[in-house]
Symmetry: C2
Subunit: 176 residues, 2 copies
């Protein structure tokens, strides 16, 4: 993992989601695979929550406290407790939050050596800053994949016999 | 499946891929999961091939010949036989090809009744135009998901213990 390429990828995510989702009808945006599964809208909410309580806060903890204190909890379902704001607002908030995260990260002037600094994950134990930042990128990309699939499944029945060629249409939804 | 929303989604795909992939280093673009699996670059090539030989050509066959003659074959691996052109060229060609496809589709002035017209798939048997067009959309979205996952797996090792939280990093690559 190299920091410049990781941050370059992180900067793309809000633009990609905006290009894919902005202006989509609710029947796309709020489609999910049943109770406990996530719609595209839910996924954007989850990513926004991560900006507020996961990636940068934990980066700060590693830099300031090392392994002296475990990270606070990250509630993967926190977005469900929020009021339902318009998708355009949610996307704009995610764009702004990600930009702010990357600006703070840039201003930290992290070095290659910093990537080896450690923090304490409440469940996983010691993790390095490099692992945290690589996870941030991979987490974006796997959730982008999840958005593609939950949208695709809207046409699970409409594709008729082609369903046999599209295994993702029958994939068990997995929130990640 | 409603045609206006389907075509609206199809129009987004080149922009989404461009936003995600344009200018990415080769180590991202050409990363795959081993022999027989597809990189992001391969997937764009596959989508471009579909514009040339799958979706619109088969739409024309349904409209012009109905079930009188089976669709020609679609070579899912055709992109491998092409020379390796720069990713920017490939993305631009896909953008142009998709635009041309959607313009032709629009000029066909398809009706709701047309969605029930039938063609003959060489393996699946009779399919309706509506099923073909719904599949086009779902195929875009599942391949977008595939792009997200193949990119994410670049950091499979870099995430360290977080790998336990990201099952997509260990998902068997499946070309679709």
């Amino acid at each position: 993992m190299e920091l410049p390429e990781a941050t370059s990828m992180l900067a793309r995510t809000p633009k990609v989601l905006d290009t894919l989702l902005a202006g989509l009808p609710a029947k796309w945006l709020h489609r999910d695979d049943g109770p406990g599964t996530w719609s595209a809208y839910d996924i954007v909410g989850h990513l926004l929550e991560g900006e507020a309580t996961n990636w940068l806060p934990r980066t700060r903890m590693i830099l300031q406290q090392g392994t002296g204190q475990a990270f606070g909890p990250f509630d993967r379902e926190a977005m469900r407790g929020r009021g339902r704001q318009p998708a355009a607002v949610l996307l704009a908030r995610f764009t702004a939050a990600r930009l702010a995260s990357l600006e703070e990260l840039s201003s930290s002037e992290l070095t290659v050596d910093d990537m080896e600094r450690r923090g304490l994950h409440p469940d996983l134990g010691e993790v390095t800053l490099g692992q945290l930042l690589a996870t941030w990128v991979a987490h974006d990309l796997t959730h982008l994949a999840q958005v593609g699939e939950v949208l695709a499944r809207r046409y699970r029945d409409d594709v008729g016999p082609y369903r046999a060629y599209l295994p993702a249409l029958d994939r068990t939804a997995d929130a990640e």
